[in-house]
């Protein structure tokens, strides 16, 4: 299919919206747009961070998911209590593949599920006493736990429990931070407010814990990685590049992260932000309070990696800048070989993305390095500032969709006929059954890492084995096939 014009994309959107009742149509129209790089402010053409329409299928999560699952969950040496009924935590347990090192159940607790398991009587009489007891139990069973966070599920806000009071009391008793997080699922329109609430809790209960304690020896090259959750090892393949450049990574927020690391972040020289959406609040706060500058970077695909490493190095002295060049040169043969191998197999393929915080814009460069083109992209829970950043990365007249509904995404796929869709588990089987190659881009489809040069090689291999998988020629039952197509298939196999 040839490149679409602005008018064609607009017409496509109108056509897809046709089936909605008048009011829903008007609302959904605001969330869909044809990209126009000349528009400076995304709010002029796309609306985001609004309540989803009742009745449509949305894949958004809740504030609890944003806090417990995304920001706090990966902090490995703390226990995160899913405070409330058992389901919220149990059904999301260990689902995000944030890798970490440590002995689970001894000094790390990442894949475990702790819950106060609310029963009717806790709803009726309140659960504060239970929480108090539960915290003691955790501390007794897992004495190496460094801190505890209380992640509120919906009922906590509804029955008006005072988790702050319990947390304060337990912080004193245990001499370990016990952090109340008011991330009840009903707050906000998506998981995004959960990120914000989690950031605020970190600001109020963790970040300043070591103010005035200067025993930590800092160097001029101290940095922190923020907004990298180490999905499939992403933070590790990023960290080695920074370390090879001569920087010292003091903290990782929060993939493979620890509480002491987070407390030390106020001592670094520069904050490096990968997922802007989920962590920008705390970096802005650190800039104001501690004067730590922050910058966004992108480690998907060699082009963006080189750009980012140079931009990071530019914040430091000439040694680091020279080192950045050395690192890029060191991996050059490696990534050129990856491109040489996979580009011929992937060139010209079209991709549609629908993911979360940073990937709908960050991965575009990696696809382009392989000669592929992203023809549509969208976020579950982005805000205006995310779309501002996305519109520069996407081609003109490509499709942007915010909080897209199940129906819309299916229709767009039918019309745009992409060669690959990158989205989540909820979309995966729908599109695979439609015969479209699909990769989960939240969990890397149980693969990864995709960050950094090492990640790029895995990324390219995964895309190739998905798109060029012979199964896609076998979507029709043999007895329904015409003779030529089965001959072609035999030849291909």
């Amino acid at each position: 299919m040839a490149k679409m014009t602005q008018e064609e994309t607009q017409a496509l959107i109108q056509e897809v919206l046709e089936v909605y009742p008048e009011k829903a149509k008007k609302d959904r129209a605001k969330h869909l747009a044809a990209n126009d790089q000349s528009v400076e402010q995304s709010k002029k053409c796309i609306t985001s961070n609004r309540k989803s329409q009742p009745g449509v299928m949305t894949v958004r999560g809740c504030a609890y998911a944003g806090s417990r699952g995304v920001v706090w969950g990966p902090v490995k040496d703390m226990v995160h209590i899913s405070h409330g009924p058992v389901g919220c935590g149990q059904y999301s347990r260990a689902g995000r593949r944030n890798y970490y090192v440590g002995h689970t159940g001894v000094d790390t607790f990442g894949t475990m599920n702790f819950t106060s398991d609310f029963q009717e009587k806790d709803i009726v009489f309140g659960g504060d006493k239970k929480l108090d007891k539960l915290i003691d139990e955790i501390n007794e069973l897992f004495p190496l736990v460094k801190g505890i966070s209380v992640q509120s599920e919906c009922p906590i806000g509804l029955i008006g429990d005072d988790i702050e009071a319990v947390s304060k009391k337990k912080t004193k008793e245990l001499e370990k931070p016990v952090v109340p997080v008011r991330c009840e699922g009903f707050r906000g329109v998506s998981q995004s407010l959960g990120h914000h609430i989690a950031n605020d809790a970190l600001r109020d209960w963790v970040l300043s814990n070591r103010d005035g304690d200067n025993s930590f020896e800092s160097t001029p090259y101290d940095v922190a990685i923020l907004g990298d959750y180490n999905i499939g090892g992403d933070a590790w393949s990023s960290r080695i590049l920074l370390e090879e450049m001569g920087l010292r990574v003091v903290a990782m927020w929060s993939g493979d992260g620890t509480l002491p690391e987070m407390e030390l972040t106020s001592k670094v020289k520069l904050n490096l932000v990968h997922c802007y959406r989920s962590i920008n609040y705390i970096t802005r706060h650190m800039e104001e309070k501690y004067g730590i500058p922050w910058m966004e970077y992108n480690l998907f695909g060699p082009t963006k990696i080189a750009e980012s490493l140079r931009a990071i190095a530019a914040r430091f002295d000439e040694t680091i800048q020279a080192n950045a060049e050395k690192v890029i040169a060191k991996y050059q043969a490696e990534y050129e070989a990856v491109v040489a191998k996979y580009k011929p197999r992937l060139e010209g393929k079209k991709v549609m993305l629908y993911v979360g915080g940073l990937r709908p814009r960050h991965i575009i460069g990696a696809y382009e390095d392989l000669g592929m083109e992203v023809v549509g992209t969208g976020y579950e829970f982005a805000h205006n500032d995310d779309y501002d950043r996305t519109m520069k990365e996407m081609g003109n007249a490509t499709l942007l969709y915010d909080d897209v509904t199940g129906y819309e995404l299916e229709e767009f796929v039918k019309r745009l006929k992409p060669d690959l869709i990158g989205s989540g588990i909820k979309e995966k089987y729908v599109f695979q059954k439609m015969g479209v190659p699909f990769r989960q881009m939240h969990s890397w489809d149980y693969s990864g890492p995709y960050h950094g040069y090492d990640g790029f090689a895995i990324f390219a291999r995964d895309m190739d084995m998905t798109i060029n998988n012979p199964c896609w020629n076998r979507m029709q039952a043999p007895w329904l096939q015409s003779s030529e197509s089965s001959a072609a298939q035999q030849a291909a196999a």
Partner: protein, 71 residues
């Protein structure tokens, strides 16, 4: 009267950020911006105008200030 965080961007321009509104705009002009006073009417590149009583000595950025809408 939103709380606004003002920070300096890499290119030297000032950014006007309202967390509650996800609003991140560049400041186009500031009424008084001298060595000893900063404030008055602030115009943003999106055309909106805000007001803050002039502050002296000028604050160091980034900082959070309370602005009023000027229109």
């Amino acid at each position: 009267m939103p709380n606004v965080m003002i920070r300096r961007r890499d290119d030297g321009n000032l950014l006007f950020y309202v967390a509650k509104k996800d609003m991140e705009e560049t400041i186009a002009s500031v009424e008084t911006d001298t060595a000893d006073t900063w404030g008055g009417e602030v115009a943003l590149t999106d055309g909106s105008r805000w007001y803050i009583d002039p502050i002296s000595p000028p604050p160091s950025f980034p900082t959070t200030l309370r602005f009023k809408r000027a229109d």
